[in-house]
Amino acid sequence: MRVSIGCDHIVTEVKNHLVKYLENKGHEVVDNGTFDKKRTHYPIYGKKTAEKVTLGEADLGVVICGTGVGISISANKVKGARAALVGDIETARYAKENLNANIIAMGGRIVGVGLMENIMDVFLETEYNKTPEKEEIIKKIDILGGNEEQSNNENFFDEFMEKWDRGEYHD
């Protein structure tokens, strides 16, 4: 399979571990970064990773940040993305089987790498079990939200990056 993957700077080494794991299993991995530990912003990588999936450049996506929450939300806000934030195998199985989830999200500081590997395995292996009821609910999810302006737009977050560079976001 072709797997799109992304993370923030908190868990870069965990993402690198998962990339290697997936490649060793024979998958083709599209690594959307981040690639180092320099402070960055999870929505950039959540959006990028999810769009590879929704635009057909990858089959499924994997996103991780510290808790998995921030990056999974940004991924799910992409039109056509159905992200599942999980900490166990059964939820990943359910999400694929019933909601045809196309992105799996985990917290790199919450879930250990052994369990993450197993969650990814099950997520990739599990088949969506199509029924009219499931199709109906998926359709009802997919029509929500959406935003033409954001789609595949690399400059969508520029205004905030400029504000960041001006030092307007500070602790």
């Binding site: 989830a101 999810i141 990056m161």
Partner: protein, 142 residues
């Protein structure tokens, strides 16, 4: 700050437990699905739309896996919703992501753990500061 809560049929029992737990802790809790028989799609929209209209409040949605409600809620503008199964994330996600809604799967998380998760989420505060750029990015998305 008020806590609004909803559930489908499978999450009903845990929702009642959580409601009781939060009320005992002194929170004002508003149940948006007091009767059994809601499906998770409609129940999630009820909670999420309430939070869109009442930005100071926090929302909780319970079904069997937390996954469907997470997908639905996060499609809505201004909703930042976490599917939770641990206390550490419950605190971190409020303080870093300014999460305003959480989902819990009653088939995954046991009652005692679920109580601690919502207790932690209810008590947590947003840190702001550098985290606001990410929240601004999320809120510009759908």
């Amino acid at each position: 700050m008020k806590i609004v809560i909803g559930s489908d049929l499978k999450g009903f029992k845990l929702k009642e437990l959580i409601k009781m737990h939060l009320v005992q802790l002194g929170y004002e809790v508003k149940d948006l699905t007091p009767l059994k028989g809601n499906n998770y799609y409609d129940a999630t929209l009820k909670v999420a739309e309430y939070i869109q209209a009442n930005k100071e409040d926090k929302g909780i949605m319970i079904d069997e896996y937390g996954v469907g409600p997470f997908m639905i809620a996060n499609k809505l503008k201004g909703i930042i919703c976490a599917n939770l199964f641990d206390e550490h994330s419950a605190r971190m996600t409020r303080s870093h992501n300014n999460t305003n809604m959480v989902t819990i799967g009653s088939g995954i998380v046991g009652d005692r753990l679920a109580e601690k998760i919502v207790e932690t989420f209810a008590a947590a505060n947003y840190d702001g500061g550098r985290h606001q750029i990410r929240v601004d990015m999320l809120n510009k998305m759908c």
